[in-house]
Each structure stands twice: as C-alpha cells, then as structure tokens.
C-alpha cells in the first residue's frame, strides 16, 4: 500500500544552514501524528517544505505515490494538503465567512460563490464561529482567529491537515476546546499532523510521535515509547535530566 504522504531523505537549507536534514517519514490515512521538538528544531520548516512554501533542497516527497516536491503551494493545497500557521494568516478586512469561502473556492474548487458560502457556513458551524460569520476577520479574538484558521483549512477539503501550534497563546480552557475540535476533525477521517512543543498536549491526542532535533529526526514511534526515549528527554530537558531518568528506570 502506498503511504498517504512519504518523505524520503528530505533536506532544506537556508544559505549554509540546514534547517531540516535528511528526514524520512510516512503518514498513513487516518493517523494523528504529533510532530514535536524544542524551539528551532525545524518543525515549522518541515511543514513549509511539505506545503511548498520553502521547497526542499534535497530529497523527495510523495503524495499518494506521486512526487510533489516541485509543486507550488497552491498546487499542493489543491491536492488536499492543508495547513494552519503558527502566526494566524487571515485576510484581515474580509469577513470571517469570506475567509473560509476562499478555501472552498480555490483549493476545494467550489465554482459558485453561493455554494462556497454555504460550504463555508457549515465549517463555521462546525468550528463554533457561525455567530461571527459577518464580522471582519481582524476583529476576532486570538482563540477565534485560530478557529478561523481551522475552518479555512477544512474548507479546503483536505485529507491531510497540518496544525502548526494551534494552541500557542491559548489558556487551558481554550486548549481543551481546541483539542476536542481536533478530535472531531480526525473523526471525519482526515489525517492530522499536529506540531507542538508541549509534550503533554500531544500525548493525549496522538498514537504516534515524531521528534525533530536540530533539523534531524531522532525518534518516530508509538507515543508511550517516544516519551520514554532518553534521546528525546535529552533533547527536551538537557542531558543531566536524561541521566537521572535513566537511573530511575534502571
């Protein structure tokens, strides 16, 4: 069976600096995968590489077995790979519903505007933003702007959704709501890659975790195994903490 998404030895350098080096991984349909790593580990860069914003400088990316590493962002979106941004990227003076319509019209190819609006309203209802539909996007609270990103991405009718730090800047109650929303999205059969630097957020959500450190993939395994992996602990908390953990495990 071909994987939904497969990365083969993907690297990306900026100038002389390799932000992502030699990463290989696969994503199967229906999975929720956590992509974790300390700040600056190359998580967002990896998403940018997959979505074509910063094309890979080496390696191959296959989507349903077809290479996509040379496609432009809009072409990758049209193939059903959507993402949200760490820093939300709305169309500021368009209304909330128009923002979502954009996703439906272009990536998902809904031809008529009336139909796109109807589709958009469905996603707004799903994400709990229906009441805000006609407000300009730049008037929303941060939590709602993050929901808008989700709704916009869903309107693109993706089968892969990459969420870049959807919880950053949210309080505990808001995070819990967001996690419920993500579970509901997954229940629709959309494969999700969730990027986090908080371990505890992903452990409750993902069955599998991929860890990046200094641009390299250092672990890719079931959640329980990854969080006990000394290399992961070291990457996160420094070597002394890792040693202590090792002693305790022995």
């Amino acid at each position: 069976m071909t994987a939904l998404l497969e990365l083969k030895n993907v690297s990306r350098s900026f100038g002389g600096v390799k932000a992502v080096r030699d990463v290989s991984l696969t994503l199967q349909p229906g999975q929720i995968v956590g992509l974790i790593g300390p700040n600056g580990a190359g998580k967002s860069t990896l998403v940018n590489v997959i979505t074509g914003v910063h094309p890979a400088t080496a390696g191959e990316i296959l989507h349903n077995g077809e290479p996509i590493q040379n496609l432009k962002p809009f072409q990758i979106s049209a193939r059903g790979i959507a993402r949200t941004f760490q820093v939300v990227q709305p169309f500021p003076s368009m209304t909330v519903v128009e923002n979502v319509m954009a996703g439906a019209m272009f990536a998902a190819g809904v031809m008529s505007m009336t139909e796109a609006r109807a589709v958009a309203m469905e996603h707004l209802t799903f994400t709990g933003l229906a009441a805000q539909a006609d407000r300009p996007a730049n008037q929303l609270t941060l939590a709602n702007r993050k929901r808008l990103e989700l709704a916009k991405s869903l309107a693109m009718n993706p089968h892969i959704l990459m969420l870049d730090e959807v919880n950053a800047g949210l309080n505990t109650a808001e995070i819990n709501q967001a996690l419920d929303l993500i579970r509901a999205i997954a229940a629709r059969g959309i494969s999700i890659v969730i990027i986090e630097h908080l371990l505890k957020v992903v452990t409750g959500l993902c069955s599998r975790i991929v860890v990046l450190h200094h641009g390299e993939l250092i672990a890719d395994d079931a959640t329980a195994d990854v969080i006990n992996d000394p290399r992961v602990i070291e990457a996160y908390l420094g070597s002394r903490f890792a040693e202590r953990q090792m002693v305790r495990h022995d």
């Binding site: 432009k72 809009f74 072409q75 993402r83 709305p90 169309f91 916009k152």
Partner: protein
C-alpha cells in the same frame, strides 16, 4: 429598490445622456467628454492591478504610450484604423504579460519604481528608433479626410465604446472568482497562496488587463489627435492621474474610477483655463492638497457590501 438597482438605473441614465451629447452640444463639450472617457478607461485599467490586487503600479503611461505608438506606427503604414487599435491592444497586452512575469515578483516600493521606470525606458527606445517611430520629431498619422464635427463624433463614440467595455470588464472581474482571488492577494498574499490561489497567474491576469486597456486608450488617442511624440504619450502624468482618480473615486470599486475621473478632470479643466503658464504647478498643488486631505476611508474598499449585495440578489 436596492442599491444595486439604483446604481444600474443611474448608469443607464448616465449612458443615455452621454450618447445624446453629440446631438446636443458643441465640439468643445464633446472633446471634454471624450477626454473624460479616456481617463475613465485609464483609471479603470489601473484599478485592475492597483485597486483589486493592491499592487502599486505606476506603469499606465508606459502601456498608454506603447499602445499609442503601436497603433500609430501601423496606421501610418496604411493599416485601417480599427485594425490598428486591435494591434495596439495585442501589443500592450503581450508586453504587460511578459513584464508581469518578471516584475510581479517584486512587491511594494520596488514594484512601484520598476513600473515607473518602464515609461522612461520606452521613451528612450522610441526616441532611438527613428526609422520606425520618427524619434523625437514625433509621428504624423494619415488624415481622415473628414470634417471636425464628424471626426469629433466618431472618436467620441469609439471612446465611449472602449470605456463601456472596460466598465463591463471591471464589473465581471469584481463579481468573479478572479476578483475574489485578487482581493485575497491584496489582503495577504502568502495566505492566498496557501489557500490554493495561483497567485502568479492571477496577478499576471490583472496586470495584463491593466496593460491591454491602457494600450487601447493609447491607440485611440493617437489616431484621435493625429500626431504623437514620445514626451507627450509617455508623460508620467498618464501614470499619476489615473491613480488619483481611483483614490478619489474608491479603490477596487466598480464605478469609483470613472466617477473619480470626471471629478478630477473638472478640477483640471478649471486650472487649465485659469492658469495657462502655471498649469502644471497648480496641478501639483491640487495633487498635494488632495493627498493631504483625502479621507483615509476612500483608500479602503468595502468588499463585503458588494458581496452581500451579490448574495442577496441571487
């Protein structure tokens, strides 16, 4: 009656009044109306790239001048006038397309400047290619052999047709995926890209529309005046005035550019008549005053109102 219906009614009345003008008024009024429609076309042409897409183009003079020369050069060699205009449109659009491929990678100030320099470059080339263009001496076009009245009317109707087609195109763009996509690009180009918009293609379409319509106006202008020279048709004022008109009338709107053109030219005409020697200086003063006192609201177009109207109408 909805706002859209009111606008439509006003449009019909305006068009009817305009079309009756040649019957009712003298050559002076007719000439003024022709100029107004020409500038309305230029303003709407700019609006595609500047208003809808938010790219600060200062390239209208380049396309206008290129259209004028393209049309004039073939007309001077015996090509019928309407074909010469078609040729001007083709050349203008192709040039805009090719240029767009390169220049639309730039944003903001760099884009503004690059488009501004194109007119200077074309002026230099036109001056240099004496055999083809007559160089700095200018280019005379074949005489029509008509009386001034018939000539005035002919070009009035021709310009009316051009302005009407430009307006119709504006309307279609504003209500289409293209217009929606251009607005997305204007607001946040990176997000537009991610949302699945082929931003390069959309921007090039907008720039080509802009170049094509401006070149058409140039082609008509050349055969109307019968004589063109580089310093006349590549005048940077042809780049600046349409922008001012759009700023006056409303960026990215459908009727704003045309209304702005009328308002601006009335002001311009008053200045012309009263200060012949100081005309450009006073015009400059007018521009400074307009810019300093233009309400900020004019600069941002309310897309929502339009969309709501569209949805409630369907």
């Amino acid at each position: 009656m909805t706002k859209a219906q009111t606008q439509f009614l006003l449009l019909i009345v305006g068009a009817a009044v305009l079309l009756l003008l040649p019957v009712m008024s003298g050559n002076y009024t007719l000439r003024l109306a022709t100029i107004m429609m020409m500038y309305a076309t230029l303003a709407m042409a700019w609006n595609f790239i500047g208003g809808f897409t938010g790219y600060p183009s200062f390239g209208i003079a380049a396309f206008f001048g290129l259209g004028a020369y393209a049309g004039a050069v073939v007309q001077a060699r015996g090509v019928p006038v309407v074909l010469a205009w078609a040729f001007a449109i083709v050349i203008g659009s192709l040039f805009a397309y090719a240029l767009g491929l390169i220049l639309l990678r730039l944003r903001g100030h760099a884009f503004a400047i690059a488009t501004l320099v194109i007119a200077e470059v074309l002026r230099e080339l036109t001056n240099g290619m004496t055999d083809l263009t007559g160089g700095g001496m200018g280019l005379n076009l074949p005489f029509f052999g008509w009386g001034p009245d018939a000539l005035g009317r002919f070009f009035f109707y021709a310009m009316f047709a051009l302005a009407a087609i430009t307006l119709a195109t504006t309307y279609i763009v504003a209500h289409s995926r293209l217009g929606f996509g251009l607005n997305c690009i204007k607001q946040n180009e990176d997000a537009a890209d991610i949302v699945g918009i082929n931003t390069t293609r959309y921007k090039i379409i907008a720039f080509t529309l802009s170049g094509g319509f401006a070149a058409a106006a140039g082609g008509l202008y050349a055969s109307w005046t019968g004589y063109i020279e580089p310093s006349d048709v590549y005048d940077i004022l042809f780049s600046i005035k349409p922008i001012l008109m759009v700023l006056l009338g409303g960026m990215g709107t459908i009727f704003g550019p045309a209304l702005g053109a009328v308002v601006f030219l009335v002001l311009d005409e008053i200045v012309w008549r009263n200060f012949l020697q100081l005309h450009t200086g006073i015009l400059g003063l007018l521009i400074v005053i307009l810019i300093l006192f233009l309400p900020a609201g004019v600069l941002s177009f309310d897309w929502r109102a339009l969309l709501k109207k569209k949805v409630s109408a369907t």
